[in-house]
Symmetry: C2
Subunit: 262 residues, 2 copies
C-alpha cells in the first residue's frame, strides 16, 4: 500500500502547482496526476456536473491504484465539501487547509477569497473559515478570466495585471489583511496579486495549504527517486507545453491519454 | 418534415449569434438549439475529442427530429470538413460560407482569419479559401482569450479592446483587406475589431455566412410565429443570463437540461 502513488487530479493544468509543491516536498514519492482536459474548465460549470466528473476521476484513480487522492482543484473540492463521497482511501481537498492557513494568518479577521465562479457560488471557503473562526468576515470575488490568462501563458503581463487590478477593486474596499488564492491556477499569478494588494495583505494558496495538511497526516518519503505519471482525457501540443513548463524543474516520467468512461 | 425544427448546435453561447440571425431572417421557423455547456469550450481541445462531441450532438438532434443541422461552432465545423460524418439530413458548417464571403470580398487577395486554437490548427479556413481562390494569401491568428472575455460579458470594454489589439499586431503586418471572424463568439466584438483593423478592412462573420448559405439551399418561413427551444448539457445562473441577453430581442420558448449519453 505504501508503495502506491498518490493520486492528484484537476480539470487541467492548474493542479500542476499543487503537484509540483508535493514533488518538491516529497521527491521520493510516486504521483499519478489525472487531468480531465477533455472537459476543462470546471470552474464555470454547475455543482451537479462537477460532482459527476469528480466521481469519474475518483473511480479512475482507485482503479489504477493510489494510496490517497488529492483534489487539486478548488471547484471540485467545493463539491466534495457538500457531499460525502465514499472512498477506501483518504481524499484531501484544497479548501479546508487553505481556510486553516487563512484563519491562522489573519489579525483583523477580515479575509478575502478569490476563485472560479463555481467555487465562489459554493461558498465553501466562507463556511470552512467560519467553522474555525465564527467571527471572521469573509469577502469573495470570482475571477473567471484568470484561468484562461494562465492557460494562454500571459503571466507577468501588464494586461493580466490590469485584469487582477479590476477584480480586486471590490475586495479592497474591505479591510482585508489575508487573501486566499482559491484556485490552483493562481499561484502562478502570486507576484501580480502581491503588487495589487500590497505588502500588508498576506497571501495563502492551495499548494501551501495541502503541504501543511499532508505533512501532519502521512508518513511520506522525503528522499529517493520518485515518479510522476500523467493521465489526461485530451491532449493538444499547447497543453503538453504548458504542462511541461509549469512542472519545471521536474519532468513527467510518462504522459498518456485515457478515457474515463461513465 | 418541413414542420420539423432546424437543429443548431455549439459548445455554449457563441452559436447564439448564429441562432439570432437565423430567427431574424426566418422568424416563422422552429429552432432547436443544443449547447454542450458541460464540456465547453471546444476551441482549446483536440480534433479527436471535438469529433466525439460532434457525433454525440448530432445523434441527439437527429433523435429529437430536425430537418437540418447547423453547426454554429467553428471548432466543430473544422472537424466536419476533415471527415464526412453520415447524416440523413443536411448538415451546414460555418466555415465554407465564411470562406465564400471572404473570397468574394477581397480585392488584394490578402485575407486574415481569427478564431480558436482548434480552428486555426485545423487550417480549415485556409483550405476552404484556397479551394475558391488558389492564389489567395491567408494569414491566421488564434485568439484564445476572446471566448472567455465574451463569456465574462466584458464587451465594449477597454481591456478587451487591448487584447484584440495585441492579437491583431501580427496579422496587420500583412496587407489584408478582409478579416474573417472565424468563431461564433466574435460577432459580439465586431465593433472592437473594426476599431483595431480600420475601415479599409472588410469583416466577415459566421452569421452572415450561414444566412447566405441557407438562403439559397432551403425554402424557409420568413413569416409566422416560430419557436426557439434550447437544450443544454449544463446550466448555471450566469449562463442562463448570458443566453438570454445574447438572444435579445428574441426569447427562448423553453430551456431544458439534457444528457447526451455516449
Amino acid at each position: 500500500m505504501n508503495d502506491l502513488p498518490i493520486g492528484v487530479f484537476d480539470s487541467g493544468v492548474g493542479g500542476i502547482t499543487v503537484l509540483r509543491a508535493l514533488t518538491e516536498k516529497w521527491p521520493g514519492e510516486k504521483f499519478l496526476y489525472l487531468a480531465d482536459t477533455a472537459r476543462l474548465p470546471y470552474g464555470a460549470k454547475s455543482s451537479d456536473t462537477i460532482e459527476q466528473y469528480f466521481i469519474q476521476n475518483l473511480k479512475f484513480l482507485l482503479k489504477e491504484g493510489v494510496k490517497a487522492v488529492v483534489v487539486a482543484c478548488n471547484s471540485a473540492s467545493s463539491v466534495l465539501m457538500k457531499k460525502k463521497i465514499p472512498s477506501p482511501v483518504p481524499i484531501f481537498n484544497v479548501i479546508h487547509p487553505g481556510a486553516r492557513l487563512a484563519a491562522a494568518a489573519t489579525r483583523t479577521g477580515h479575509i478575502g477569497v478569490v476563485g472560479t465562479r463555481a467555487t465562489m457560488l459554493s461558498e465553501a471557503y466562507v463556511q470552512a473559515i467560519k467553522e474555525l473562526s465564527p467571527e471572521a468576515n469573509v469577502y469573495q470575488q470570482a475571477c473567471p478570466l484568470l484561468v484562461p490568462l494562465v492557460e494562454e501563458n500571459w503571466v507577468d503581463d501588464p494586461l493580466t495585471n490590469m485584469v487582477i487590478y479590476r477584480y480586486m477593486q471590490t475586495l479592497l474596499k474591505h479591510p482585508i489583511d489575508t487573501l486566499v488564492l482559491g484556485c490552483t491556477h493562481y499561484p502562478v499569478l502570486k507576484k501580480a496579486f502581491k503588487n495589487v494588494v500590497g505588502a500588508s495583505v498576506e497571501l495563502v494558496d492551495s499548494p501551501m495549504g495541502i503541504i501543511a495538511e499532508l505533512d501532519g497526516a502521512f508518513d511520506l518519503a522525503t528522499e529517493g527517486d520518485g515518479q510522476i505519471d500523467v493521465a489526461c482525457t485530451d491532449l493538444t501540443p499547447h497543453l503538453e507545453n504548458l504542462f511541461a513548463s509549469m512542472l519545471l524543474p521536474r519532468k513527467a516520467n510518462s504522459i498518456r491519454l485515457v478515457d474515463l468512461g461513465r
